[in-house]
């Protein structure tokens, strides 16, 4: 009777190739790639552009233009053409105010949200909404090139983030993807993706340093590879250092040389920045070039450029030293150095890196595409197109997580560079008689003072049974998943009451905001939204059933006959609901029923798979 589950038309055929893309969502440029006939390839739009400027232009009619087409508006309409939005992802209003000084946008704050909104002619938008426009654009590009004519949906995407991104920034990126309608298979660190693109996973083992100097962020990561397992040993960097700063440094140099007043009109500023960028790019190939400003010509050669950039480059080298130290290795131990990001085309950067590591860095692949290529390879594996792959990318948490204690101090709960996923429990108690609620403030950063760390979330534990002060034992579990995202659950131990946890992300969006934005984006087509929600639940129902059928076959002996009956009934009910339900909530409820009666079974299966894997290992040991 369960056979019908795998009949055609009801669920994916087991060997059907799934459509997966890798997206490098960059500060200045974004790239989408996929694996085709076993090879990773970058996807191009109709005009054959494979590098999409991370630009979003809003028109007075409420339209949205993304990428190359928006770049023409950069000079003519800067206030409505959003550039480098990645810098504002997961940032608060205050950060944005300081970053925003050099930006030509008008920021507004929506009451109580803490999230900066950018005012445009088409309305006010959060960084998450703006980023999701770029992701939608890239996903559509991916769908068009992959579906070969017939309408087809993407099965999933891997989206890359700087290894240095904190929880709020990762969450913002994932929210943007959700808003764009993508199933995120994984948020992958950019440097790890680059190492994968170079096929370094095919080596038996080694230490790899990835130096990634993009438009707006600098990351260095030390990875260890052994038998297909990539492990991030340490990460470091600077989320406000990149090619944009190089351009700005060149602009400052020109202004200094010309003794011009330091303040430029936004339009002038943009024009000079573009010239500075051109000059920088030319110097990657030639020895000297000129910049025209205020009817004057300024000659810039490689030596001068190296001097101008020296303070910025040395900041990056310092981060490299620290990352090496955190990984407990020295520069000579590194087997491969990978260059990522357009700014590594600058000769002075290459020289500084080669000098530090005592070897020429790898640079055969285009540094602007390498991250997307690696993301595509990982997406192909995660979506299930390569079931035999034993590649595994392990990650660490880039910044320590802690909570606020008395006196504005932070107590670390999960320290930097801890392997994720991870779960840590912390016990709290009440300090007043009859206290029934308490506030918890979660922070991320390395400093002892609350004011020096990033506020991630505040939540209240409610429903604590009234007791004398200090008698309640509240166990709060902080769980960080493989994407570096935090979940919190809480329980009062003496009474067993599960207290409600109400997380208010300090710089992110609450679930309500996301669903409101989803509604907004579908405001003219309510049916579309409902159809999409229904489709999502149908797909999830398929996943649940597809996973359970072989599970029951392989490990059915772990269940009593009665347990088995219950599960089979729930599965049949889900199958029925999946086909007939018109409301996504009905399917969701049926999935929940299946999940509840199979939770134990899933845990028992995991237990068994671990034990049998270890037993296999022991046999191997005896053989060898």
């Amino acid at each position: 009777m369960l056979l019908q589950i795998s009949e055609p038309g009801q669920s994916a055929k087991p060997h059907e190739r799934k459509l997966a893309i890798g997206i490098d969502l960059g500060t200045s440029n974004s790239v989408v790639a996929t694996v085709r006939s076993g090879e990773p390839v970058v996807l191009a739009d109709e005009q054959d552009n494979s590098i999409c400027p991370s630009l979003v232009h809003y028109t007075a009619e409420g339209g949205v233009v993304v990428g190359q087409a928006a770049s023409e508006k950069l000079l003519s309409d800067p206030a409505n053409t959003i550039n480098s939005i990645k810098r504002l992802m997961g940032r608060g209003v205050e950060d944005s105010a300081s970053l925003g000084q050099s930006l030509p946008y008008t920021f507004t704050e929506k009451e109580g949200s803490g999230v900066p909104y950018i005012s445009t002619v088409a309305g006010e938008f959060s960084p998450i909404e703006i980023s999701s426009e770029i992701l939608k654009h890239l996903a559509a590009l991916g769908e068009r090139s992959l579906s070969s004519g017939s309408a087809s949906e993407l099965d999933g995407a891997v989206i890359t983030v700087p290894a240095y991104f904190d929880e709020a920034q990762r969450q913002a990126t994932k929210d943007a993807a959700t808003l764009a309608g993508l199933k995120v298979l994984r948020l992958l660190n950019e440097p790890t993706a680059a190492a994968v693109a170079y096929g370094l996973d095919k080596q038996a083992e080694g230490l790899i340093a990835v130096y990634d100097l993009g438009g707006g962020t600098f990351d260095v990561s030390i990875l260890r590879l052994s038998k297909g397992v990539f492990e991030v040993l340490s990460t470091g960097g600077d989320s406000a250092l990149g090619g944009d700063d190089f351009d700005q440094a060149i602009v400052d140099w020109v202004l200094n040389e010309s003794a011009h007043a330091k303040t430029l009109e936004p339009v002038e500023q943009r024009a000079l920045l573009l010239k500075a960028r051109d000059a920088k790019e030319q110097l990657a190939g030639s020895h000297s070039t000129t910049i025209e400003f205020n009817n004057q010509l300024f000659e810039l050669n490689r030596e001068t450029l190296a001097e101008v950039l020296q303070p910025l480059i040395s900041r990056s080298i310092k981060s490299c030293r620290r990352a090496l130290r955190d990984a407990d290795i020295s520069a000579e131990d590194v087997d491969n150095v990978v260059l990522v990001g357009g700014s590594t085309r600058t000769l002075a950067v290459r020289e500084a890196v080669a000098n530090l590591f005592g070897q020429e860095p790898l640079s055969d692949l285009d540094p602007d595409r390498v991250v997307a290529l690696g993301a595509a390879i990982q997406a192909d594996i995660l979506v299930g197109n390569k079931p035999d792959s034993d590649m595994l990318l392990l990650d660490v948490i880039p910044l320590s997580l802690g909570i606020e204690t008395m006196g504005g101090l932070v107590e670390q709960i999960i320290s930097r560079n801890t392997a994720i996923p991870v779960a840590k429990a912390q016990e709290f108690t009440t300090f007043k008689d009859g206290q029934t609620a308490m506030a918890v403030h979660v922070l991320q950063g390395e400093r002892d003072l609350v004011s020096a760390c990033r506020s991630l979330a505040r939540f209240e534990l409610r429903g604590i049974p009234p007791m004398v002060a200090g008698a309640a034992k509240i166990r709060v579990v902080f769980q960080v998943d493989a994407d570096g995202l935090l979940m919190v659950s809480a329980e009062e131990l003496t009474s067993g009451v599960k207290t409600s946890v109400d997380i208010k992300p300090s710089y992110g969006l609450a679930d309500d905001d996301i669903s409101r934005m989803l509604q907004d984006s579908f405001s003219h087509a309510k049916d579309d939204m409902k159809a999409r929600a229904l489709r999502e639940q149908q797909v999830e129902a398929e996943r649940v059933l597809e996973a359970l059928v072989p599970a029951l076959e392989a490990d059915g002996d772990l269940l009593s006959e009665q347990e088995r009956q219950t599960i089979v009934q729930a599965m049949e009910a889900l199958l029925q609901t999946r086909q007939s339900a018109e409301s996504p909530r009905d399917i969701e409820a049926a999935i929940e029923v299946v999940a509840q009666c199979t939770d134990d079974f899933a845990a028992r299966r995991m237990d068994r798979s671990i034990k049998s894997a270890l037993a296999g290992q022991n046999l191997d040991d005896i053989d060898s």
Binding site: R186, A423, V544, A602, D607
Partner: protein
């Protein structure tokens, strides 16, 4: 999650302070391959949830077993000894003296950081080597008492281990500052 009754059993190791690090790491690889959520990325939400929990448990076990002071604490935990470390070190006046001496030297080192880089470097090196020496001694004490089965007496060296590992962290922080001076 009922993966195993204790971390040593999960990693198929005999409970004890001295463990085979290579075996620990190679078993850890096996466990990662088995339960990392990426292995279930295309699966249902439930499969992913179970994998995240299993992997978090395994990572916690690995972290506990691979760090000396955590492993020692866990051993006492298994032996039913509550290692409430408050006031423990105060029972050993010699060790208390040692702590105060080191604190002073650390304070001196901090002052040197801004004045004399080379002197700071050499002071840091000597403090680091002393710290390592003392750590080895304390660990040997712990092992001796643990193997005699005198678990309550193990609490004292454990408390000292906590101090030396905390001190090592502070030395690393000072090293951090030195690196920043370059």
């Amino acid at each position: 999650m009922d993966l195993s009754e204790n971390f040593f059993a999960l990693y198929q190791l005999e409970p004890g302070f001295e463990i085979d690090m290579a075996a620990l790491k190679s078993t850890h690889r096996q466990l990662q391959m088995q339960c990392h959520p990426d292995k279930f990325a295309a699966g249902s939400a439930q499969e992913q949830r179970v994998a995240v929990q299993a992997m978090a448990y395994v990572n916690q076990a690995f972290d506990t077993l691979s760090v000396n002071v955590k492993r020692a604490e866990y051993l006492l935990d298994l032996a039913g000894i509550e290692s409430n470390l408050e006031n423990q070190t105060h029972q050993d006046p010699m060790f208390l003296m040692q702590q105060m001496e080191w604190r002073e030297e650390l304070a001196e080192l901090r002052q040197l950081l801004s004045r004399d880089e080379a002197a700071a470097e050499s002071k840091l090196q000597s403090l680091m080597s002393n710290q390592k020496k003392l750590e080895k001694q304390i660990e040997a004490d712990f092992v001796r008492l643990y193997e005699q089965g005198d678990y309550p007496a193990c609490v004292a060296p454990l408390a000292k281990m906590h101090f030396t590992s905390k001190f090592a962290k502070e030395l690393r922080a000072a090293e951090d500052e030195l690196l920043d001076l370059d």
